[in-house]
Amino acid sequence: MSHNEKLLNDDCHNSRRGFLKKSVAATAIALAPNVIVKAAEDGLDEKAAGYFEKTNIKLTINDIDYSLSIEPRTTLLDLLREQLHLTGSKKGCDYGQCGACTVHVDGKRVLSCLSLAVMQEGKHITTIEGLAKGDDLHPMQQAFIDHDGFQCGYCTPGQIMSAVACVREGHANSPEEVRQYMSGNICRCGAYNNIVDAIIEVKRKGGTI
């Protein structure tokens, strides 16, 4: 192994998760029953960590109240997709660089891949699945269909959630302004022109969205 290689490998082990685990273990020694502290001392720390790493939270998603027990390292996006099967919110990068995971938290657009689920206690979350009222599409959803604001459709839920917020924020007054305020949502198929048209139409029609 080269020197550089060793450095890289060592780096690997100072991961965020490693830090979290150690912190949890430290707290554990103060608070936990003896049996678990003993287990940690016996080299079963990984297994022990598993017991501690669930936290109870309550939050509301698409007007439904949830009471959940989750690991603190779980992102809001992974909670939605992997545990609640709300797969409308998409994972495109996992680093907040593409916008595919955009949801509304208390009415504001938020990147769910950069949000830890445990930090959403008491929050009201709206995902693409909660935007339509029954069979009635939200005007932005209909406008995306009418203007062909997508091709593969993968970035679309994030685009629509951003677009709704963009109008609500008052940032949809011109195509140029829309382009600026929608630049956090990548569309690799390149439906950008049509997305602008959809948003401008919804804005022009007015009404509460």
Partner: protein, 738 residues
């Protein structure tokens, strides 16, 4: 042909599923008891694994298995114990967990399987590998120096007429052009869910542009009967070529599912998307082009040095564009391939033709200034009326019309043709144009159709759709053939157990599958006629398809439209619940005597800031001869999308390797820039929209590739016109203009 009048501005039939978040992409199918796999990649670019310490990972909570080359299930179709030094394979991909040889950084060395995604990610971080590190080759500058080209028949010079004839021309140009590594980066991360059922039957939800090709690849690897592998891909979140192959991570997922006896889900990270699912290979090209004083081409020499991996040859049609795009008697092409410690490239939108057209179409622009002939005029002077390579006519060619449409819309003749002559305040103004072409093909496909008493129609075929709108155009063809409204037609696809459809690639889906859908509807019409002939309805035992109209309500006799039979009547008289037909669609024999290409023309007007070199688009016009346009709305979107991809290629996309480590340093969306909203102006699209009378019965050619091909050259040419500076290496970043 009279029936084909696709004037409807139909919305995409998948619209509602997409905008409500109900559309299910590969990783999103709910599979009971699914566990999570995370791939660990090699941290070196060349060498071998001495040891992998998996103890900590195996001990971590929720971990069920850690798979490495030491304990992997032996894939029956793999060649274990093979000699890695024996040379490159022609199209046999990396065999995952087969041996300890490392060919590139990021090569999968372990698969960690746990009961939750978080646990699998964490455990993967605990894997420690020790390597015997070797000196890797990832530096493009070493190609032709320390890195030696692959030898073989396909790398021999190709000479038409006189070799390197351009050298003797009155006016000539020699220039070198570079296209860097670019990465497809569809928005959906490549993902797979693999589930073994009873009797070794396998179900796979896969991100793939070809459910049948994925089925074949997986069946071959695991030595299963094709029917025992079912691949689903109802929605595919973009591909652009990256999902044309079944990559090693998918095989790894199937291995993992086998070893833990549970369904397994594996999703690549965005970083892994740079290493494991192909890329457009770096290519250095040299063009030599010569013309007489009137601008007639005397000779073109096109040389390309491309990149491949250490284990597989990947070649593409980069230099072929110079053989076919213009009338020129003497064309010499040379293509060399250099293996580096990178993964295998793959076709990326427009593939080699996009790379090749960048060089050729820039060179022609450069030559036009040397000749003092308008760049568009120069192209028209050398317009190929017949295929210069195969000496045969085109099935159709309306490139001149596409030139004219674009030139009018951009205001080509109103510009001042002198370089660096036009200004708007601090911005220098430039116009540029280019041509693109791509083979228009038609392959084999099978489709089936079922007509029900209520007049609803189901058409089925095993194809997947990564975005162009195949469901929509196929639905429209079927609706048009049967006179039904679009909402009475359901197009079922994305399942390998349906009648075999094509892989969605190479701009052939509409031509190939559209013909099959046309064919199956034609068969259905004939079946209805057969029933009507015998049941006495119209009192015509010699009734023909041409005698009737197929409508929403049923079948009408053209000569007496009052005579009508509903589908319900027809089925009940024939004592059938439904009418079912299928059709095997094959390319026409007649096409052997023709060449078929689709063409695009891109015109751009750029603004280049005189102090900062910032490039903005003022106007973009994209025109195409893509044959008959089947679905106008989605076709326009596909053209716009190709231009957006072209903006990325022209101005921003480059996967940069740090050669000290042999690794990408910008393998994420913050550092590998793709166009965002603010980068993209309004794009105007115009189609010639004339049917190809020979290629297929629907008149459509192809569009996916040409939408992008040539665009980067138009931008480079416009930047030259604006500034007088010629940028020959992509992307055209402002530092190259300053």
């Amino acid at each position: 042909m009279e029936k084909f009048f696709f004037e409807d501005d139909n919305n995409r039939v998948t619209g509602k599923a997409v905008v409500t978040g109900k559309a299910k992409y590969a990783a999103e199918h709910e599979v009971e008891g699914v566990v999570y796999g995370v791939l660990v990649g090699s941290t070196i670019a060349k060498g071998s694994i001495i040891a992998i310490d998996t103890k900590a990972a195996t001990k971590a909570p929720g971990v069920m298995k850690v798979i490495t080359h030491e304990n992997s299930y032996k894939v029956p179709g793999y060649d274990y114990g093979g000699n890695p030094a024996k040379g490159l394979t022609g199209g046999k991909g990396l065999q995952v967990f087969n041996g300890n040889t490392i060919y590139f950084a990021g090569q999968p060395i372990a698969l960690v399987i746990a009961d939750s995604y978080e646990r699998a990610v964490y455990a993967a971080s605990l894997i420690k590998a020790q390597y015997n590190q070797d000196v890797h080759a990832t530096d493009f500058a070493e190609m032709g120096k320390s890195v030696i080209a692959v030898e073989g028949q396909r790398y021999k010079d190709n000479i038409r007429g006189e070799a390197d004839a351009y050298k003797n021309a009155a006016v000539k140009l020699e220039a070198e052009y570079i296209v860097p590594n670019e990465v497809h980066n569809p928005m959906e991360l490549h993902a797979v869910i693999a589930k073994w059922g009873a009797d070794d039957k396998l179900t796979v939800w896969e991100k793939t542009q070809g459910v049948k090709s994925a089925q074949r690849s997986i069946a071959a690897a695991f030595k299963l009967k094709e029917d025992d592998v079912q691949v689903f891909a109802p929605f595919v979140g973009g591909g652009f070529g990256s999902a044309l192959r079944t990559w090693p991570h998918s095989i790894a997922a199937v291995i993992g599912a086998k070893m833990v006896k549970k369904p397994l889900k594996l999703v690549l990270t965005r970083e892994q998307m740079f290493q494991l699912v192909g890329y457009r290979p770096y290519t250095k090209q040299r063009i030599g082009i010569g013309a007489d004083k009137d601008g007639k081409f005397i000779g073109i020499t096109h040389e390309a040095d491309g990149v491949t991996s250490m284990y597989e040859e990947f070649t593409e049609g980069t230099v072929n564009v110079s053989k076919i795009l213009y009338q020129c008697q003497n064309v010499t092409t040379r293509y060399k391939l250099y293996p580096l410690n990178l993964s295998t490239p793959t076709w990326m939108r427009g593939p080699g033709e996009a790379t090749g057209c960048f060089a050729l179409e820039c060179a022609i622009d450069e030559l036009s200034y040397l000749l003092n002939i308008d760049p568009l005029e120069l192209r028209l002077k050398n317009y190929a009326e017949t295929d210069p390579e195969r000496n045969r006519p085109y099935s159709s060619k309306f490139l001149k019309e596409a030139y004219q449409l674009g030139a009018d819309k951009i205001g080509w003749k109103d510009r001042d043709p002198r370089p660096a002559s036009m200004k708007q305040g601090e911005w220098q103004v430039g116009y540029g144009m280019s041509t693109g072409l791509f083979n228009a093909g038609r392959g084999n496909a099978k489709a089936s159709a079922k007509l029900y008493a209520d007049g609803t129609l189901i058409v089925q075929t095993a194809v997947s759709d990564s975005g162009p709108g195949t469901q929509t155009s196929m639905t429209m063809i079927a609706a048009d053939m049967m006179g039904l409204p679009v909402n009475k037609v359901t197009f079922e696809y994305g399942d390998s157990s349906l009648p075999p459809g094509p892989t969605q690639g190479g701009s052939t889906t509409t031509s190939t599958l559209g013909s099959a859908v046309y064919g199956v509807c034609f068969a259905l019409q004939n079946k209805i006629i057969d029933i009507l002939k015998t049941d006495g309805t119209f009192n015509k035992t010699d009734l023909k398809v041409e005698d009737v109209s197929f409508t929403d309500g049923g079948v009408l006799l053209k000569s007496d439209p009052a005579k009508k039979r509903t589908y319900s009547d027809i089925l009940s008289k024939a004592k059938l619940n439904q009418l079912e037909v299928s059709d095997d669609s094959k390319a026409s024999e007649q096409m052997r005597n023709y060449s078929a290409y689709s063409y695009s023309v891109h015109f751009v007007k750029v603004l280049v800031h005189s102090k900062t070199g910032v490039i903005k688009f003022d106007k973009i016009v994209a025109t195409a001869d893509a044959g008959k346009i089947i679905s106008p709305k989605t076709a326009r979107s596909q053209m716009i999308g190709g231009v957006v991809g072209g903006i990325g290629m022209a101005l921003m996309e480059e996967a940069v390797i740090d050669n000290r480590f042999g690794k990408y340093i910008n393998n994420n969306f913050a550092d590998y820039h793709v166009p965002v909203q603010a980068d993209v102006p309004e794009i105007e699209v115009a189609f010639v929209n004339k049917p190809d009378p020979i290629l297929n019965p629907i008149g459509a050619k192809g569009m996916g590739e040409i939408a992008l091909i040539g665009f980067a050259a138009a931008v480079s040419n416009a930047v030259y016109h604006a500034t007088g500076k010629r940028v020959r290496d992509l992307p055209i970043t402002l530092d190259k203009i300053m």
